[in-house]
Amino acid sequence: MNPAFSVVLLTTASGAGYGMLFWLGVLSAAGVMPVDRWFGIPAVLIALALATIGLLASTLHLGRPERAWRAISQWRTSWLAREGMVSLFTYLPSLGFAAAWGIAGPQSIAAIVLGLLAALCGMLTVFCQAMIYASLKPVRQWHSRIVPPNLLLLSLASGAACLAAMATFWLLRPGRIAAGISLVLCLCAIAAKLSYWRSIDRAPPVATIESATGLGTIGPVRELEAPHTEENYLLRDMGFHVGRKHGDRLRGIALGLGFIIPAILLIIGMIVGNPVAMVLFPIAAATALLGVYVERWLFFAQATHTVTLYYGRTT
């Protein structure tokens, strides 16, 4: 599948934003975040900004961006509509959370309830995003039960890194807590990605050229002649596939940038403390975002669509 910049950025940026919002809601409810309103309000806004960048980027992918508002009507059947609806709704508790924090402090009932609601809605949005991919049967690398937990995990890991990067400028302890959470999640993410990649490398194809053409009863089927000499929309959008050689190297880069380097930086920052943490935590967050971007690029580039069977390729 073609890893278009707009869709890759959508899940990367909004994943980190909603992950940050989740930890902000949960950790402030638990009473371990800085209580300063000039921490709380900007933190919520930064998380929302990340999410908004992702959502706006996704509209660049549309053929008719001016009609984007129509995309929330079919929530009964469409995961994309559900994502749109939940992501828009998330702004309400999030902005309410920021307001309640500013007026009554993070430990007020209103802030706790709205913060937890925002956390839940954010994760629900990421889950809906994941289900858009996981519900597509023709793409076997996406149509998998482990895709939603994977995307949620990466969202929570990168979001916690972003929160640590910000919180440590107010107080070291909240920064350390968020960094510790991100560290644990980064280690989980390494295991999750390795198991995902192993499973997609080993899984049998969902269909074959024989079943796609129904000619398997005669014998093995080979493409003799394509219907057209030039590329078409199908081959451009669904025929994109990165080779195994580069794929392996990019997997290493994704793991290194996304999780291993951030984990090392977070450990050093947690041990040494400020002001080193003030330098290392932001670098860890930026690296994690870059790594998740590479990971999400690969999620597309290594996914194969059954339509390519008709063009003599394997899936």
Binding site: G63, P138, S211, A212, T213, R222, E223, P227
Partner: protein, 241 residues
């Protein structure tokens, strides 16, 4: 609504005979010709007269080689929308632009509200949908909805453009929901099959398999050349008849 409406009895569709298709691409060309001024007009082309022409086509004809050795054969394979009974292209649509008609099962796109998110094309295992990059909306086979119900053209011509043009009569149009229809009879008689049945989309369109050919005779030793003069060879030939 992108929820699939409760379907009626009628399931209009195509039956494509892979035995008689000669791979002439006339169906694809006539499809393009009709539909570029029909329901989904235009089917945009880019660089149509340049080195790398590209554009939207709703019907594509592949050619394959099936089997090995002397029993292998060339099969031409037209590919277009199968108007599935379980069309994921419809249910994934976030706007309701993609829909399946209850009255005849035809899957269509309302290009007035399509936002061009392309998710429906990803959801289709068969590559039936092509995105019009100029108009920013998705296009697909309409089963020539503007021909089959068109009272302004003679009744005999009220079939999809691809069917009307096929010189080998390899394409048949009819109601596959009616077990007594000519197309249903044809499918039953010839063992018509679904493409990628394992994905569960339940295509309405059916394909008829190439007929089994009699086995090519084994290598036969040539009879030894008769010897002797011309008269004896002539007598030998006459007696050998």
């Amino acid at each position: 609504m992108t929820a699939i409406p409760k379907q009626g009895q009628k399931k209009l569709g195509l039956v494509i005979d892979l035995d008689t298709c000669v791979g002439c691409h006339a169906c694809a060309v006539n499809c393009k010709e009709w539909n570029t001024s029909g329901h989904f007009a235009p089917l945009t082309d880019f660089d149509a007269y340049q080195e790398h022409p590209q554009g939207v086509w709703l019907n594509r004809v592949h050619s394959y080689e099936a089997g090995t050795g002397p029993d292998s054969r060339t099969v031409h394979f037209p590919r277009s929308c199968l108007h599935c009974e379980q069309p994921a292209c419809v249910t994934v649509c976030p706007t309701g632009a993609s829909y399946k008609r209850a009255e005849d099962g035809i899957v269509l796109v309302n290009t007035e509200i399509c936002i061009g998110c392309k998710l429906c094309a990803w959801a289709c295992p068969y590559g039936a949908r092509e995105f019009d990059e100029d108009q920013g909306v998705m296009k697909k086979c309409t089963l020539c909805i503007d021909r089959i119900y068109n009272e302004n053209i003679p009744e005999a011509e009220r079939v999809p453009a691809c069917v009307s043009t096929c010189p080998a009569s390899a394409r048949h149009f009819g109601d596959l929901g009616d077990p007594d229809s000519a197309v249903s009879q044809l499918v039953a008689e010839r063992g018509g099959f679904d493409l990628m049945p394992e994905l569960g989309y339940k295509p309405v369109n059916k394909y008829l398999p190439p007929r089994r050919r009699p086995k090519a005779p084994e290598h036969v030793e040539a009879a030894p050349e008769p010897t002797g003069n011309g008269v004896l060879r002539w007598i030998d030939r006459v007696l050998s008849r």
